[in-house]
């Protein structure tokens, strides 16, 4: 499935929709306990990571509060 991750094209092996939890693992996202996930412009609640689905063509942004900028 083809996605846009942090503004860049990305591909994961799964063909069908996956949960955000699954996506975080598939992309080996660092410090998953702290990451904020924005799916198609919507900030997702952490409690929804298991049930929210990511499908082909979606845009995903990862955000951390530890970095330098605002």
């Amino acid at each position: 499935m083809n996605l846009t991750v942090n503004g860049k094209p990305a591909t994961i092996g799964e063909e069908t929709a996956v949960s955000i939890t699954h996506l975080l693992e598939a992309l080996q996202v660092e410090q998953r306990e702290y990451v904020t996930v924005e799916l198609n412009g919507d900030i997702m609640d952490r409690g929804d990571f298991e049930k929210a689905t990511v499908k082909d063509g979606d845009s995903v942004e990862f955000l951390y509060f530890m970095g330098g900028g605002r």
Partner: protein, 417 residues
């Protein structure tokens, strides 16, 4: 926090919780004594600044050694995140400034460490932040003190040096009902006596310089976010951008991305390493601090030259019941007692041989001080009364020496009073 770590018992969490293996299998975290961190490409650094990727930039903002201790403290306190700072006072300042703005009010216990009282009463007042002080043993005074402008309730879990013990669960119930966060300074009780998140605190402060470091070799502070407070009310519009982006990490995000970054009270990597070393043995040390303090309290109480002893571990303390309940039958390593007058207190301090006369608590060594002439000397008699400081009072931070030697030191010194 990983679920497996959540399941660990407290003493094990102190040693293993939140730790990651060091380079080459090192069982200690590296001390990353560097100011800044380089990247191969402009894109990588842009991503980190935008918060899109994890990475270190500059030690004022973050550093692997600091991050290591922050993760451990968050796990130990059952919080969601932690920020460590250069001192306990900078932890309080940073955490408070993240919550309040000009014209806001803090509702604080009057029973405070002198430095915190000065910050609230003098320094923050100069920036338009007013503090209303209340007696922490009077829940009615707490409720009555809440106004439209209140943004924060602040209390010490064991008042230093008043030795009063507020009922944190009762405080939390009032704070939650009022939609105001409860910030507790748990320096004296330490995570060993109780995890304040479990009792309902929203933000937990430590001066890590004290019991967490344990051997008085470095100054430091910590802010732990319990992740329990909903910042989405009209009282906190300044949290909205952080809440929208970072949800229940809103407080930590505001601390990190604004106040801590701008005020710059960052911890030194070496100090963070040393405080982390202290965490490993916190449980063992606190067990001994508590048992030694109880033994010294009993001895002092039986001594004819001692007018009174204030230690929540004594059955006649008005805080014995609440402290016993919320601290699982342990009462900490700090006590105060009274002699006849100030000259008698001075004679005692001067006659002690083992106990050191200095302005600190939480060392392995037994420490004493006469607060009225030192750490509380600048305050009016009325403020001293509120803080529980009188001229005949001596504060003891009971160390972890053999208790018989501590008792003998005080016994011999009392003979010379």
């Amino acid at each position: 926090m990983a679920e497996a770590e959540q399941q660990l018992r407290f003493d094990t969490k102190l040693i293993h919780g939140g730790t990651v293996p060091g380079p080459s299998g090192a069982t200690k975290p590296p001390i990353v004594q560097a100011s800044a961190f380089a990247y191969q490409t402009a894109e990588e650094l842009e991503d980190i600044f935008k918060g899109r990727a994890v990475g270190q930039v500059y030690t004022r903002i973050g550093n692997p050694t600091l991050e290591g201790l922050e993760k451990r403290l968050a796990v130990i306190e059952n919080g969601i995140a932690a920020v460590i700072t250069s001192s306990g006072m900078s932890a309080i300042t940073t955490a408070v400034m993240a919550v309040v703005r000009c014209d806001d009010e803090i509702l604080s216990s009057a029973s405070l460490f002198g430095g915190t009282y000065s910050l609230f009463h003098d320094t923050l007042a100069n920036y338009g932040i007013k503090t209303r002080f209340f007696d922490p043993t009077d829940l009615g005074a707490l409720e009555a003190g809440i106004s439209e402008r209140t943004r924060l309730i602040f209390v010490e879990t064991i008042g230093n040096p008043k030795m009063d013990v507020p009922d944190i669960e009762a405080f939390s119930a009032i704070a939650k009902k009022s939609g105001i966060p409860l910030m507790v300074d748990a320096t004296v009780s330490t995570p060993y006596l109780a995890r304040m998140r479990d009792l309902g605190a929203d933000i937990i402060i430590h001066s890590t310089s004290k019991y967490i470091n344990g051997t008085a070799n470095s100054i430091g502070g910590a802010i732990i976010d319990a992740g329990s407070f909903d910042w989405g009310s009209d009282r906190f519009p300044h949290f909205e951008p952080f809440r929208r982006k970072y949800r229940n990490f809103a407080f930590t995000a505001r601390v990190r991305k604004l106040i801590h970054k701008d005020f710059g009270a960052c911890a030194a990597p070496l100090n963070a390493f040393l405080s982390g070393e202290g965490l490993d043995t916190l449980a063992l040390r606190m067990e001994r601090h508590c048992s030694n303090a109880l033994e010294l309290a009993h001895f002092l109480q039986s001594h004819p030259k001692v007018a009174w002893v204030n230690y929540p571990g004594l059955p006649d303390s008005p805080f014995h019941e609440v402290a016993g309940r919320q601290f699982n039958g342990r009462f900490g390593g700090l006590l105060t007692f009274g002699l006849a007058d100030k000259p008698a207190a001075f004679r005692l301090v001067n006659a002690l041989r083992l106990a050191k006369n200095l302005a600190n608590i939480g060392d392995t060594k037994t420490l004493v001080i006469h607060p009225a002439s030192t750490i509380c000397a600048d305050y009016t008699p009325e403020v001293k009364r509120l803080m529980g400081v009188s001229e005949e009072l001596v504060r003891v931070s009971v160390g972890i020496e053999d208790p018989a030697d501590i008792v003998e030191d005080f016994s011999a010194a009392l003979e010379r009073v």
